[in-house]
């Protein structure tokens, strides 16, 4: 009798402890269910119908027709290629630029805090404001970009109007907009590079580049990988910068998958078709993620040896 009370109390406490994790996870799960799974399921359903924007629920089931149309149209493949080019350019550009900036900022230079603040601005300003500034910069008549090219003797360029330059301009602006993120994350990783390792490399006769290659780079590679993954996924889904700069033009040269989803849905009112494009875009993101984790795992296995 005397031991029963504490035991049952303990049992009750154990039961509470067993339920607690589900309560915590449950809240997140419900949130995800409502705001991710339901829309995604609806999107998946739409992609098999001929729903239109004006009558979203009145679509008829059309089977794989939307997908069939896409996979046989050149427009989809060129949109896919644009997405890949844009993503590659943005990821490589921002990683390169961000890493260089981070390494430069990690040196003990005068006014480091000021530079860091200045270089973080692109990431901090709203996309709309940044894009407006770039539209002025790229203005054919009076933009800074064209004044510079004129001064260099290259002559005025249609930065956002020339099909040859559209994707390049959009990529440049995107890199400018997102590289501070890479910079900040790499800067944080650089703080963790053991000072004695760098000193050891210096004593061993390594010059600055070799110290970077032997000590710093291997240390920040895991960080760079995860940043590269984030940058890739974000680039695949980036909308606002591209849409505000060119709206997918000139002549569809910046028409990435996300842009074409928007255009299909809200300009052509083809909700079903748009949903199908969106689903294929989702597959692309998933492929990237899976490839990343597979390569990460094989690297980890190599490391363990």
């Amino acid at each position: 009798m005397t031991t029963a009370a504490p035991t049952s109390r303990i049992r009750r406490r154990n039961a509470a402890a067993a339920i607690a994790p589900y309560l915590f996870v449950g809240a997140a799960a419900i949130y995800l269910l409502f705001f991710m799974v339901v829309p995604m399921a609806r999107g998946l359903w739409f992609s098999f119908t001929d729903a239109t924007l004006l009558n979203p629920d009145g679509g008829q089931f059309v089977g794989g027709k939307n997908y069939g149309d896409l996979l046989t149209s050149g427009a989809f493949y060129s949109s896919l290629l644009t997405t890949l080019l844009y993503t590659a350019g943005t990821v490589i550009g921002s990683l390169l630029f961000g890493t260089v900036a981070a390494v430069a900022l990690s040196e003990r230079i005068r006014g480091r805090a000021v530079f860091r603040a200045l270089l973080t601005i692109p990431w901090a300003v709203p996309s709309v404001a940044a894009v407006l500034v770039f539209i002025w910069i790229f203005n054919v008549e009076s933009g800074v970009a064209n004044r510079a090219t004129k001064a260099l003797g290259i002559g005025a360029q249609g930065w956002l109007l020339d099909p040859k330059l559209g994707l390049l301009s959009v990529t440049l602006v995107s890199v400018w907009k997102v590289f501070p993120f890479v910079m900040l994350v790499v800067l944080a990783a650089l703080q963790g590079v053991p000072g004695e390792l760098r000193e050891a490399a210096r004593v061993d006769g390594a010059d600055r580049l070799n110290v970077f290659r032997t000590v710093t780079l291997p240390h920040i590679v895991p960080t760079l990988r995860i940043v590269a993954l984030l940058m890739t996924i974000w680039s695949i889904r980036r909308f606002e910068v591209i849409y505000l700069l060119t709206g997918g033009g000139p002549i569809d040269t910046t028409n990435t998958i996300v842009i074409s989803v928007y255009r299909e849905a809200f300009q052509n009112s083809q909700l079903g078709q748009a949903a199908a494009i969106g689903m294929l875009g989702l597959c692309l993101s998933m492929v990237v993620t899976v490839v990343y984790f597979l390569s990460d795992r094989s690297d980890a296995r190599k490391d363990a040896r």
Partner: protein, 365 residues
């Protein structure tokens, strides 16, 4: 190879002075030990010699040439770090070979792609492979050559760090507590390895340790630091037998030197509750209070009532305010810890009546 000259070398981090006025003259081919308690500035001193941190003021000379501004690699040194500092993504073999590869590096190999090919080729060069194999054999690392540092134990890592420093042919070897993480057996073995290496290469070694046994057995010259200030410099025997002040007397020797407050009397010193210990030519006038320092091994039991002690006093011009009496004899350079021969006789009364036949020196400092 070079002789090291330190003239008033000082180092401050911000407003705190870590090394002050370090002046020493180290001849070529010495095995210099920087000894001192934790935090006294030994590593800082070593880093200044290596050129890893700037010297705040004063000059450092290698063979008469000022090297304050030289980069570490221009000083031709090898360095063993306190925390090993192994390259984590390289194998043990590549770690050891790294200094050799850097010696062969030419600037144009920075062109992307070139070095990765060149590196592999250099690793296979017979002279590189042979040197790595040789040093790995000495350090007993041969079975570990293809492992990564993080799969090694602390002691194994330390040996890799040693191997990496020893593989090259520098003119100065700088070692920062290279044996602190080894077990007793391996430590004495590595102590011998390093000493042998020192005998063989005939270069200048600067060895940081807080272990007086290492200092005494390996060093040909010791600089004892406390709080960034040189307490004494000299050969191990000098430091053991003639400590410059009470700090040195307490720091060196195991057990530490007995420091007994005494009063100078005619013909000797009066030990409270114990009588007079004869000391010839006391350095200060009778009636003064001084400290008597006696090494435990100088004390032996004698038959009751009998005293058999001699002492000579020694003056020194050192200006430490503390008075101390040093005791010592012409004994050999001490090896390892001194056997406590008279452990039972170190009660307050007995040591006085029964000191060993060798001389007791008294000093006022």
């Amino acid at each position: 190879m070079p002789a090291l000259t330190f003239s008033s070398v000082s180092k401050s981090f911000g407003s705190s002075e870590v090394i002050s006025d370090f002046t020493a003259e180290i001849p070529d081919r010495e095995f210099l030990v920087l000894l001192g308690p934790s935090g006294c500035g030994k590593s800082t001193m070593l880093r200044m010699i290596a050129g890893l941190i700037d010297i705040s003021s004063g000059d450092l000379l290698f063979d008469g040439r000022r090297v304050n501004e030289l980069e570490p690699r221009e000083r031709n040194i090898a360095f063993v770090f306190q925390s090993y500092a192994l390259y984590p993504h390289l194998t043990v073999r590549a770690n050891i070979a790294f200094p050799l590869l850097m010696d062969r590096f030419r600037w144009w190999q920075h062109i992307p792609g070139i070095w990765s090919i060149e590196r592999r080729r250099a690793m296979r060069l017979p002279e590189v492979a042979r040197k790595v194999a040789e040093i790995a054999e000495i350090m007993e690392l041969t079975p570990l050559l293809d492992r990564r540092p993080k799969t090694l134990s602390g002691g194994q890592r330390q040996r890799v760090a040693l191997a990496r420093a020893l593989v090259r042919d520098p003119s100065i070897y700088l070692l920062d507590e290279p044996l602190s993480n080894l077990d007793a057996k391996l430590r004495s073995q590595m102590r011998i390895e390093i000493s042998t290496m020192y005998q063989k290469v005939g270069k200048t070694f600067v060895y940081v340790t807080h272990d007086q046994v290492e200092a005494m057995t390996m060093g040909t010259r010791i600089v004892l630091l406390d709080g960034g200030i040189i307490q004494q410099q000299g050969t191990p025997t000098e430091i053991y037998e003639r400590p410059a002040n009470a700090f040195v007397a307490r720091f060196i020797g195991s057990p530490a030197m007995n420091l007994i407050p005494v009063e100078v009397a005619h013909g000797g010193v009066r030990i409270p509750d114990a009588g007079i210990l004869p000391v010839s030519d006391a350095p200060v006038a009778a009636g003064q209070s001084v400290t008597l320092g006696v090494r435990a091994e100088k004390i032996a039991l004698a038959a009751s009532g009998e005293t058999d002690s001699t002492g000579t006093s020694r003056s020194s011009s050192a200006s430490a305010p503390r008075r101390s009496w040093g005791s010592g004899s012409g004994m050999r350079r001490p090896r390892r810890s001194v056997p406590a021969r008279c452990a039972t006789s170190t009660t307050r009364a007995s040591p006085v009546r029964s000191t060993s036949p060798s001389a007791i020196r008294a000093r006022s400092a």
